[in-house]
Symmetry: C2
Subunit: 109 residues, 2 copies
């Protein structure tokens, strides 16, 4: 599946934020995250992976290390290995973000 | 530089397509590509890296393997390791794309 539209991937759930994978290989995994208003991804870090978030639509509060910024469409947050990161959507609109992690964390499992 | 707007990164050149790096670590490199009408990235492959393109604005003809598709904003092309890929912009508008490669190809140099 080499070609895809992000809008065909994005899912939302009333239960919790969603991560919908659309590309998975040893070198990287790419997902679309969907966060309804009020949903969040808890701040965490990865021992061996870097992560990049690109906001497609909506806005969210992104934390990288000890800094939190509100990002909207076309804005990016990037977390090097070992750096705390997370996102929350306290706003009125749905947040849709492209998220790439490298390498594939399942390699470590 | 954990936070950035893609629009602050993108550059265009009358000479050839541009790749402007904004995140560089051992696990991944992330660039914004800028292609003026008529510019292209020749089809090529990487022995050890996977690559993902996300179209921010404009449109382009993306090749993955032996398939070429015209992609516009919000559309994605993904090339696993060893698969031919490239992009050309034969259209009237500038093409701006987020491109993530993993791992960092400079590790091999």
């Amino acid at each position: 599946m080499p070609f895809i539209a992000a809008s065909d991937v994005t899912r939302f759930s009333p239960e919790k934020m969603t991560k919908t994978n659309f590309f998975d290989c040893p070198q990287m995994v790419a997902d679309i995250y969907g966060l309804e208003p009020g949903q969040s991804q808890k701040i965490h870090s990865h021992a061996g992976e870097a992560k990049l978030y690109y906001v497609i639509s909506g806005k969210g509060d992104f934390t990288i290390g000890d800094e939190t910024r509100t990002l909207g469409p076309g804005e990016i947050a990037a977390a090097p290995t070992g750096i705390d990161h997370g996102v929350s959507n306290p706003y009125d609109d749905r947040l849709e973000a492209l998220v790439v992690m490298a390498p594939n964390p399942n390699l470590r499992k």
